[in-house]
């Protein structure tokens, strides 16, 4: 899969590496600032309140 993506990248090697790193960085930033914060409140060990709801 990743090999296939790598082969699909255009340009010479340095350009490919730059593209791959940029995409990787974008994914990591998306995870850290969008996906993980959205998931975080639903984690069991982040429930610290006492409440009649189960959360």
């Amino acid at each position: 899969m990743y090999a296939w993506m790598w082969r699909r990248l255009p340009g010479p090697l340095p350009v490919r590496m730059l593209t791959a790193l940029t995409v990787l960085a974008a994914i990591v930033l998306l995870l850290l600032f969008v996906v993980f914060p959205a998931v975080d409140p639903h984690l069991p060990f982040n429930n610290v309140n006492v409440s009649t709801k189960s959360g």
């Binding site: 899969m1 990743y2 993980f36 975080d40 984690l43 060990f45 982040n46 610290v48 006492v50 409440s51």
Partner: protein, 259 residues
């Protein structure tokens, strides 16, 4: 059927297409091998994402919380340097009352020598996830610092800076000092208990006795127990021992470093 210029003609309806020229020259893995390879790569990716998430929870949420604490500290400094809002004068002999603040705003600073000399957190109003991501939160509608009734705080145990990580180490008599605009409220720990997550009785003005009129000035901390779990809640109970005007300097409970 005529194909538009620039597009390759496709046989209508037929799914079979001739292999690209040259593709047959290379030995191609079978469908099963390709599927297993893709599955393996996806699973490795999932593993890396899970590890990244663990790192996010344990460390990066702490960075965000530290930034939020810094903002809350500035907010408190502003609030406390501004002249006190006009209100009815408080009766002589009792500490000045504390004003209600909007959800998410800084309310007070909490310190506890047992948890370390530098352990101090700005408490903000509210116990929603956003409020607790900034630091310990005050259950709205429970008593305010120093008030008659139950001043109830909630805090994370393992993530978001983990303000309440070490609250299990409290011993009876330990000081929990709450700083407000004018006053140091020194509470003393009376005990700890482990309860069911649905046990809201611990937040009542008279704990476990709904509807009763409070006479004591209590503090209650709630957090999850055991660490990294949510099956129970750890509750720290305390009662107000003294309240000292900040004009008299740092209270003895904080000076000695030991309670």
């Amino acid at each position: 059927m005529t194909a538009e210029p620039g597009t390759t003609p496709r046989p209508g309806g037929a799914s079979a297409t001739s292999p690209e020229p040259g593709a047959s020259l290379r030995a191609r893995p079978g469908h099963v091998a390709v599927a297993i390879g893709v599955l393996g790569e996806l699973m490795m990716t999932a593993g890396v994402i899970v590890l990244l998430f663990v790192g996010y929870e344990l460390w990066i949420t702490g960075i965000f919380t530290a930034q939020a604490q810094h903002r809350l500290e500035q907010q408190l400094a502003q609030q406390w340097s501004a002249p006190a809002p006009a209100g009815p004068p408080h009766p002589a002999g009792s500490p000045p009352s504390v004003d209600v603040v909007p959800l998410g705003s800084a309310l007070a600073v909490i310190r506890a020598p047992r948890l370390g000399r530098h352990w101090h957190w700005v408490v903000d109003e509210g116990v929603a996830p956003d409020d607790l991501a900034k630091g310990p939160g005050h259950y709205p509608k429970t008593a305010l610092p120093g008030g008659v009734g139950n001043f109830v705080l909630s805090g994370h145990r393992t993530t978001h800076g983990a303000p309440f990580y070490g609250v299990d180490s409290f011993k009876a008599g330990d000081a929990i000092v709450v700083e407000t605009r004018d006053t140091w409220f020194v509470y003393r720990v009376t005990g700890e208990s482990i309860v069911d997550p649905s046990d809201i009785g611990v937040t009542f003005p008279v704990p476990e006795h709904a509807g009763q009129q409070p006479t004591q000035r209590l503090i209650t901390l709630t957090t999850c127990n055991p660490r990294y779990s949510a099956s129970q809640r750890l509750i720290v109970h305390g009662v107000l021992a003294t309240s000292e005007p900040k004009s008299q300097g740092i209270p003895p409970a904080l000076q000695t470093g030991k309670a």
